[in-house]
Structures are given as structure tokens and as C-alpha cells.
């Protein structure tokens, strides 16, 4: 009810006269609802009525009662006061128009479902398709953009571009790579896909050409599909089997042994600068320190807020550069971890062992991590290739 009264408008009145009970009954007969009526004295009553009810009371209660308006409240009165403040009204209208106009553009492009580097590459493609920060939403063809992206990226299973408010949201679902399909009817060999030390050979069809302990290079024959013994007919097989090899991967990480730090000497110098937009003009002389750090200690606008002209006070503190040795043990652990993860990222196989080697070169400490995996190194190569 109070909310309704606020929207329709209400007035606070002061009624003066005798027999105020008759006034209340008169108001009730007129259909006027009186709210929060409080008797202040024998002849004075304060109450709240609706704006329409006040007009009815004024016409109904004539000489006997004196009705004075004390306060007007509610949306209609606030709106009429707002109308009188033309500049505020115009400002509100401009802000509303500005917000509406701003919502016609894309302000941000969000990409979900991809890593950082892939998302950055996709953003550049989206710019070519007209989807970028500052683009007008009405000229963006979402369906066309989705179609072009799906054609250009066979490694994406699904792409959805949606314009939500001022944000262009791109959802990407990468496709699961199709496994290599091996033709079971064509004779083939199994060769080494990478350099390795052979750990075990299991040849189900074909002839094994290596054994445990052999070292192979990429491309070396592991299981041959061509078996041609002297005096026997040549036989072609679809070579099948598993060749487990020990493969080593490496990764490296470096960091300087000494950290460069700048420490304050305690001396400082103040300088005044006038800034006009992004440009600055020095009022006092240049700073006399060879190396210093600057902090803004005061700023004030000249000519009010209408012009972008500021007077800034800068404090230059003299600093000296020092080389502080880094904490060696912590640095070694950090570099070893980084090198290990770089090496481990090159393979998906289980890592069975690793070793880290540190080397110094002038001011730089380098950690090289080697990880060992046991994995199937075989690769099918058809015989006519």
C-alpha cells in the first residue's frame, strides 16, 4: 500500500477546526482514505491523504475546517520538480541515450574452450570477420562467422558465437582427433618413429629385426613385413607387434644468479610539471640525479574540470643499483622444476626416471632436465612406399 501511495503521490495535511471527528466521518463519506491521522490538540489534526483525496476534501470541507498542505511526496511531485530542473533532465536524457548507444557496440570478445595462445590466434581471425571490441552489433553476421570458422578449423567440433549485451562470447569445443586407421590388407613394415634404446620386442606377425639392448634411430626397421629366406618363396606380411623403447626427452630453464635491485639513498628532489592530456611540460629544472624513482605526490586541475590541464608535483628519489646474489638452493629447485615440466610436456607416456644437470655460464644458472619414458616407438610404413 505504501509503495502504491508513493507511485500515485500523497500529501501531508494539517486540519484545523472544531469537531474533527465530523471531519473524519465526512472524509470517509467522500471515499477519501485518511492515513496516519494523529490528533495534535483539540483543534488540530495531522494526516496523510492521497493527492486526489486532498482535492475532494478541499471542495467538501469548506468554512468549518482549514486544511493546510504541509508536504507533497511521491513520484508525480518528484517528476514535476525534476521537469523544472531542465539541465538535470537534459543530462539524464543524455546519459540514457549514451548508455543505449554504447549497448549497440561490442565492447569485449570472450573466448571459452581454448588455451591462451589459441584464443589469441582466434581473436585475430574474429577481427577479420568483423567481431572485435568497438564493432557495431547490427553489422555482425553471427551465422556467417560460425560457418567460416568451422570451415577454416577442421580441428574444432563445435563453435558458437553469441552476442550477449556488449560482450561477444565465442564457445569452442575442440574435436577429438581421429585415430590413424591402419589398412589390415596391405603388407607393411614397422619402423622406429623416434630414436630409442630397445627394451622389448613382441612381433605378432612379420620378422623382428631388433632385439633388447639395440639402439635405433628414427626410420630404422623394427619388424619387417617381408620375409625372404634363401631357398624359400618371398612372403609378405602385414607386420604387427609392439616395440617398447626407452626414449629420453630434455627440457631446460635458466635464470640469473644475481638480482638487480634499486635502493633509495634518502635524497629527493621535487619537480612541478604541467600535463595537458598525455603531454607534459616541466616547470622547474630537470632532475639532477643519475638514477631516480618518481612518484606523483600532488595533482590539481587548472581551469576546472572542463579542460584536461593538470599541475602535477613529482617527487624524484635518488636510487642506486645493486646486484644481490639470488638464494642458490631455492633457485636450483625452481629451475629444476621448470626444466622438468618442459621436458615432461613433450611426451604423454609415463615417465620412469629423470635426471637434472646444472651449468653456470657467467651470471646465468641453467638447469637441463632429462626424462626417460618407456613407450611404443613403432610406426606403420606400407611396403610400396
Amino acid at each position: 500500500m505504501k509503495l502504491w501511495s508513493f507511485f500515485t503521490g500523497y500529501v501531508m495535511i494539517r486540519v484545523e477546526g472544531l469537531s474533527l471527528e465530523k471531519f473524519l466521518n465526512l472524509a470517509a463519506e467522500q471515499g477519501v482514505v485518511i492515513v496516519n491521522a494523529r490528533r495534535m490538540s483539540y483543534t488540530v489534526l495531522n494526516a496523510v491523504v492521497s493527492a486526489r483525496g486532498f482535492k475532494k476534501l478541499q471542495s467538501a470541507a469548506t468554512e468549518r475546517y482549514s486544511i493546510n498542505l504541509q508536504k507533497q511526496a511521491g513520484v508525480p511531485y518528484q517528476f514535476s520538480r525534476l521537469i523544472l530542473r531542465k539541465v538535470l533532465f537534459v543530462g539524464l536524457a543524455l546519459i540514457t541515450a549514451g548508455v543505449f548507444a554504447a549497448s549497440l557496440f561490442v565492447w569485449e570478445v570472450k573466448i571459452n574452450g581454448l588455451g591462451y595462445n589459441e584464443a589469441a590466434a582466434l581473436k585475430e581471425e574474429l577481427v577479420a570477420l568483423g567481431i572485435y571490441g568497438g564493432a557495431l552489433k547490427s553489422v555482425i553476421d553471427v551465422k556467417e562467422a560460425e560457418k567460416r570458422l568451422m570451415i577454416d578449423h577442421p580441428d574444432y567440433a563445435w563453435i558458437n558465437v553469441r552476442l550477449r549485451g556488449a560482450v561477444a562470447s565465442v564457445e569452442v569445443v575442440p574435436a577429438i582427433p581421429v585415430p590413424e586407421i591402419v589398412d589390415d590388407t596391405r603388407p607393411c613394415n614397422i619402423v622406429a618413429a623416434k630414436d630409442a634404446l630397445i627394451e622389448s620386442v613382441t612381433a605378432r606377425t612379420g620378422r623382428a629385426c631388433v632385439e633388447k639392448g639395440d639402439t635405433v634411430r628414427e626410420g630404422d626397421m623394427l619388424i619387417s613385413g617381408l620375409v625372404w629366406d634363401p631357398g624359400m618363396a618371398r612372403m609378405l606380411f602385414v607386420a604387427r607387434g609392439e616395440v617398447i623403447g626407452s626414449v629420453w626427452y630434455s627440457g631446460a630453464a635458466s635464470a640469473p644468479l644475481y638480482r638487480k635491485t634499486r635502493s633509495k639513498t634518502g635524497r629527493s628532489q621535487t619537480q612541478r610539471v604541467i600535463a595537458i592530456g598525455a603531454d607534459t611540460a616541466v616547470v622547474d629544472g630537470e632532475c639532477s640525479f643519475a638514477e631516480y624513482q618518481t612518484a606523483v605526490v600532488g595533482a590539481s586541475y587548472i581551469a576546472g574540470l572542463f579542460l584536461p590541464v593538470k599541475l602535477m608535483v613529482l617527487e624524484h628519489s635518488e636510487v642506486v643499483t645493486e646486484y644481490v646474489p639470488a638464494e642458490l638452493q631455492g633457485l636450483r629447485v625452481y629451475l629444476e622444476e621448470r626444466a622438468y615440466y618442459e621436458a615432461a610436456g613433450k611426451t604423454e607416456a609415463n615417465i620412469v626416471s629423470h635426471v637434472t644437470v646444472f651449468s653456470h655460464n657467467e651470471n646465468v644458472l641453467t638447469a637441463t632436465a632429462y626424462v626417460q619414458t618407456f613407450e611404443d616407438i613403432g610406426k606403420v610404413v606400407y611396403l610400396e612406399e
Binding site: 471515499g31 482514505v33 492515513v35 491521522a37 494523529r38
Partner: protein, 93 residues
């Protein structure tokens, strides 16, 4: 007239209808802070210490302190304040 009123009330009670349909006045009290009188016939006295409301053949007098007519309309009146006593006075002799 009295007989007609009594007959109407009797019919309302027998058929379990809403008492307000027979012109009865309903007084609802919430704690000792609010009183709501429905189907009243006008206010006869109002001060911050006493409110008298006519209700058919009765006068309902609510006395207390800081009494405010929270809402006063054609048929309902809501009284707010520190209510200390509610009295019925039979107007019809």
C-alpha cells in the same frame, strides 16, 4: 426493525455465513498495538488517549496512549498505539 436485524443475524449464524454480511462489526486485535474495526458506522471521539467508534448498536471505545488512526476509510478503521482497554457500550436501550 430489531426483529428483522435479529432474524438476519440468526440466518447468518445458522448457515455459517460471513458475519459481516449481516452488518456485524468485526474487531481484530493484534497484541496491544493494533486494532482493526471493520464495518463501522463512524467515529464519535478521537484523541491520543481514546478512540470511540460507532458499530451498529454498539460503541467500541479503545483507550490507551499514543493512539493514531493508521487508516480510516468508509468501512474500516485501523488504530495503532499502546492499547490498554477495549470497552463495549450498548447504545440501544
Amino acid at each position: 426493525m430489531k426483529k428483522f436485524r435479529d432474524l438476519k443475524k440468526s440466518l447468518v449464524y445458522r448457515f455459517d455465513l460471513a458475519a459481516e454480511a449481516a452488518g456485524c462489526t468485526r474487531l481484530t486485535l493484534i497484541d496491544n498495538t493494533h486494532a482493526c474495526i471493520e464495518n463501522h458506522k463512524g467515529i464519535t471521539e478521537y484523541t491520543q488517549k481514546k478512540v470511540c467508534v460507532k458499530a451498529g448498536g454498539l460503541n467500541i471505545a479503545i483507550s490507551g496512549s499514543g493512539l493514531v488512526l493508521e487508516r480510516f476509510g468508509r468501512e474500516n478503521v485501523m488504530i495503532k498505539g499502546d492499547i490498554q482497554a477495549v470497552q463495549y457500550e450498548n447504545l440501544r436501550r
